[in-house]
């Protein structure tokens, strides 16, 4: 027998009397409660969701990183990279600099590099490639070499790469000569070890990202419509891990780690953590996330990223500085991940399930140079060499808020999901509201008189809810999105300047506005207003998109939550035509503003789609823009 208290509670829940009756009563009570409280619930969910987003950089979250994979054993080896190897790197650098000074062609440089590999006794080759994009052809020549594992079967490989252009300014033309010299000298040095359990593949890719994309696609036999690439003459095993070396300056003070890959993929956190441990304890080089200096290193200086408008006392506050530092890292991360961009050459390898990061030598007056970076890479490779299976133990979903501090997915995922849930609640509420209409008071009074007894002052009547018009608007806007995307991929559209962009904006907005005709209700109809049904569908669809995206690409989901959460929930038609039009224009600006305000960004996204298969551009055109345009159409419809 359960205790009396439990029985009492059960009795209260079950109710006394007829079981079916109490069930119906309970259901009604719950439905009533949901109906009465849903606007407040929605508001509450929005508030918590957005507040959570704001707390992400705070010290409420976050924990120290740790090595999860037993096999890695980072930082436990003596390194023997020494001044002779540094000298060799200097010689390579001299030759590379002389080639730069006489403006040697890309092909000539690649041939020089592959010849240097051959001189070391490592099989090497070059690869020519060309991408054709809407903005022209991108071509170049990669150089690569494969050092076979002396004592293992060579079924697995590690990649050590350097691109010709540094990631500084996303490949703004800064040369990565020291990175290339490091790779060449490392090849000479690492050949001296017989303990490699995996093949070492050295790649010097041309350009910034395009060269590696051509090389890695050819390596895996992936064909890409707009890519013409020479097949690789040398091959190796399955690539498990890769280190990309980016050393643009003369010397460096810190090593920054860049880790975001295409379409928001991240490498296993063990790779970052191992590198962090090794760099700090073997190389003696502090590690940064990107190139953001940790404020704790300069206690006397107020870092630049703390907003200037804050009062002086607050600016000097440690907690404020920590928040600002973490916020800076999170924003940079969201900037890469939401747009699906690779933060460096390493990011192209993630699509083939290769865990890769870029070691960025943050340019400074000193104190580190080839000597430090060589030791760090040597020790990191020894650690990666210890791997027995792919990196799998540690996290694939995380937010790195500091070099050794991270957030687990559970700490940040709820934020966009809560916003998505708020939208869902709003959508369901709109669906219910479309069903019921309150009848006028006069009619009710008449009834009262007739029947002669007390009835409620107002009555609710049911209305039919036709979904076809709303669905046709939705299908129409998404079709419009596809058309918009196809238009953008036409040569010259995005590069056409303001006039073309404005024309495109106006025509798409007009076409979307025209979509409202599809859902026009016949006059004097007793049906539910179509804007309510459209809004309900729109909110539910957007909520689903946010929730689904959140587990694939948190940053994108968070961005969508910010741009769509509240705005879509506020859409409603007005009585005056002017107000309706204003609202529609605002929504059109939210949906298509990127055409007008950030044309460079749009062109970049399109180029990433064409060259690197980044889904961001089609996603925006086909999912985001139509969803916001639907909210605009809601405002255009009759109330």
């Amino acid at each position: 027998m359960p205790p009396r208290i439990l029985r009492n509670i059960l009795a209260k829940l079950k109710g006394r009397g007829d079981k079916n009756l109490t069930r119906i009563q309970r259901r009604r009570a719950l439905a009533d409660l949901a109906w009465r409280t849903y606007p407040r619930l929605q508001l509450l969910l929005f508030a918590i969701g957005y507040a959570w987003l704001l707390t992400i950089p705070s010290t409420l979250h976050g924990q120290r990183t740790y090595i999860d994979e037993n096999a890695l054993q980072p930082g436990q080896v003596n390194t023997y990279w020494n001044w002779a190897d540094v000298h060799r790197a200097d010689r390579y650098l001299e030759q590379l600099e002389s080639m730069r000074d006489r403006n040697a062609s890309s092909h000539e440089t690649a041939t020089f590099i592959s010849n240097e590999f051959r001189k070391l006794g490592i099989p090497a080759s070059t690869q020519d490639y060309a991408f054709s994009t809407t903005s022209g052809t991108v071509s170049g020549t990669n150089a690569y070499a494969v050092l076979s594992s002396p004592r293992a079967s060579g079924t697995e490989a590690m990649v050590i790469s350097a691109s010709r252009l540094s990631l500084t300014g996303e490949g703004d033309g800064t040369l990565n000569l020291r990175g290339i010299a490091t790779v060449l000298s490392l090849a000479a040095y690492l050949k001296g070890y017989s303990l490699w359990a995996k093949d070492l593949v050295f790649v010097v890719s041309d350009g910034y990202l395009d060269g590696m994309q051509a090389w890695i696609s050819s390596y895996h036999g992936v064909t890409q419509g707009n890519l013409v690439a020479e097949p690789l003459q040398l091959s190796s095993g399955v690539i498990w891990t890769a280190l990309n070396i980016d050393y643009p300056g003369h010397s460096f003070s810190h090593l920054g780690v860049f880790f975001e890959g295409l379409n928001g993929r991240l490498p296993n956190q063990d790779l970052i953590n191992s590198f962090q441990v090794i760099s700090r304890f073997t190389g003696g080089v502090p590690v940064l996330v990107y190139d953001h200096f940790d404020q704790s290193e300069f206690p006397d200086r107020v870092p630049d990223f703390v907003p200037k408008w804050l009062p002086q006392g607050m600016r000097r506050n440690e907690a404020t500085q920590e928040y600002a530092y973490r916020a800076q890292n999170v924003m940079r991360h969201i900037g890469y991940q939401a747009r699906g961009r690779a933060s460096g050459v390493h990011g192209l390898l993630h699509q083939f399930r290769i865990d890769a990061i870029t070691l960025f030598a943050v340019p400074a007056q000193g104190p580190h140079g080839f000597h430090a970076i060589g030791r760090v890479v040597e020790s990191t490779l020894r650690t990666l060499n210890n791997l027995l299976e792919r990196l799998h133990a540690s996290f694939f979903f995380y937010l790195l808020v500091g070099p050794a501090t991270f957030m687990k997915i559970g700490a940040f995922l709820p934020a966009p999901v809560l916003v998505g849930t708020a939208m869902l609640v709003g959508g369901m509420g709109a669906w219910a509201a479309a069903r019921w209409a309150r009848q006028g008071r006069a009619q009710g009074q008449a009834e009262k008189r007739e029947e002669g007894r007390d009835v409620p002052a107002a009555r609710w009547i049911e209305r039919p809810r036709p979904v076809a018009p709303a669905l046709s608007v939705i299908v129409y806007t998404h079709a419009l999105g596809i058309a918009l995307f196809c238009l953008c991929t036409w040569p010259g559209i995005l590069a056409g300047g303001n006039i073309v962009a404005t024309l495109l904006f106006a025509s798409v907005a007009l076409a979307a506005g025209g979509g409202s005709l599809l859902a026009r209700a016949p006059a004097g109809s007793t049906q539910a207003p179509s804007w309510m049904i459209l809004k309900s569908f729109n909110l539910c669809l957007a909520s689903t998109v946010i929730s689904v995206t959140s587990v694939l690409n948190f940053s994108l989901a968070a961005t969508l939550a910010v741009f769509m959460g509240l705005p879509l929930s506020l859409s409603a038609p007005s009585r005056s035509a002017a107000a309706r039009l204003t609202k529609f224009t605002l929504y059109a600006l939210l949906a298509l503003g990127w055409l007008l305000f950030v044309p460079g960004e749009a062109a970049q996204a399109l180029r990433n789609w064409e060259v690197l298969r980044v889904w961001f551009a089609p996603f925006v055109c086909i999912v985001y823009t139509p969803l916001v345009l639907q909210a605009g159409v809601v405002c255009l419809l009759s109330p």
Binding site: Q73, Q76, N78, A152, L195, A197
Partner: protein, 418 residues
Amino acid sequence: MLILPWLSAAVVAAASWSQRVHAQNADQEHAVRGFFNAQSGSVSSHTNNWAVLVCASRYWFNYRHMSNALGMYRTVKRLGIPDSNIILMLADDVACNPRNKFPGCVYSNAGRSLDLYGDNIEVDYRGYEVTVENFLRVLTGRMDPSVPRSKRLLTDDRSNIFVYMTGHGGNEFLKFQDNEEISAYDIADAFEQMWQKKRYNEIFFMIDTCQANTMYSKFYSPNILATGSSEIHENSYSYENDNDIGVAVIDSYTHHVLEFMEGIGKTSHKSVQDLFDTYSFEKIHSHPGVRADLFRRPLRQTLVTDFFGGVAQAEVLSSALVSGQGIPNTTERSHAQEAVPEKLAMVNAVEAYRTNATSGQTSTQQIEIVRTRALDTAAMFESYARGEQGSFSITARAWASVAVAGSLIAWVSRISKH
């Protein structure tokens, strides 16, 4: 004509010899036993030593477990247990691992001064053969007939067995190669089965893993001495890394035991208590445990070499058994126990020892235990060694010898004259 006295003398000599053989004297026997025991200084009654060394891990980063087992292997071999009596179970994937900077070598210290893999390593169960099933089969002797003798634990009820295990473990389990586990109950039951099948005299069980002491908590069979590296909810740690090999090379507890063992020679008189006395948290960074409640000898009198050494005990038999009363000498002991009714007494004697006697006891019953051809000679030696005889038989023997010698001389001189 001299042939007659020669013959008579020979007959007299034979008679006196057989008389001596039949003579029984417990005191003399005791003296001889004391003589043999004095050689080893032991009070153990085992006649052979075996070792089962198990490294339950594989993979490069578990280098230290391989070197733990190889360190023990080196020690038992150095102290005299031959390869034929060592069952070594080892994943053996580090010496020739491509990641090994020193191919074909396994070191157990940071300075790489001692290569454990250098000399004549005989691994009986290698790589994927190291399984829970194979380990239990080795212990219990339930083998397929095709399994070679080198892979079997051919022990009997006079065998002292040293069982060493290392790997990754937890509360009452030890992981075998990331694939399966053996539980404390499995080992306890296997030992009980060994006891019932008379497969051991005494077992010294040593284990180095996390929460190691839980592994011997379930033992219930007699004559088992057990020790482990760490308590429940406690980790065992590695001792040191070699920065060229790049991984930890040995575990703390095993390193400590091996350090102690380096001071032990074949003739050492150090007892296991001396070993246990050296345990300390400061050195090992965990709390090693000892379980001696099943063990019947005082630990102070139990020598380390009773388990680690290959010290062969000679068994002293009574001459009554040697004279041979129609008992087939060639029968193996185990068969004799089952088949021959006269041997029931012997079985009883063994049982008496196994159930109540502390092992140091040298009762006369025990002497009757073993009757094999090999040990007959021991009995003969024993009878020769007796000093105390009747004065008549000594005199008769002397005169008979003089007569034989005289007749021989006479015979030879006659032949030379001709």
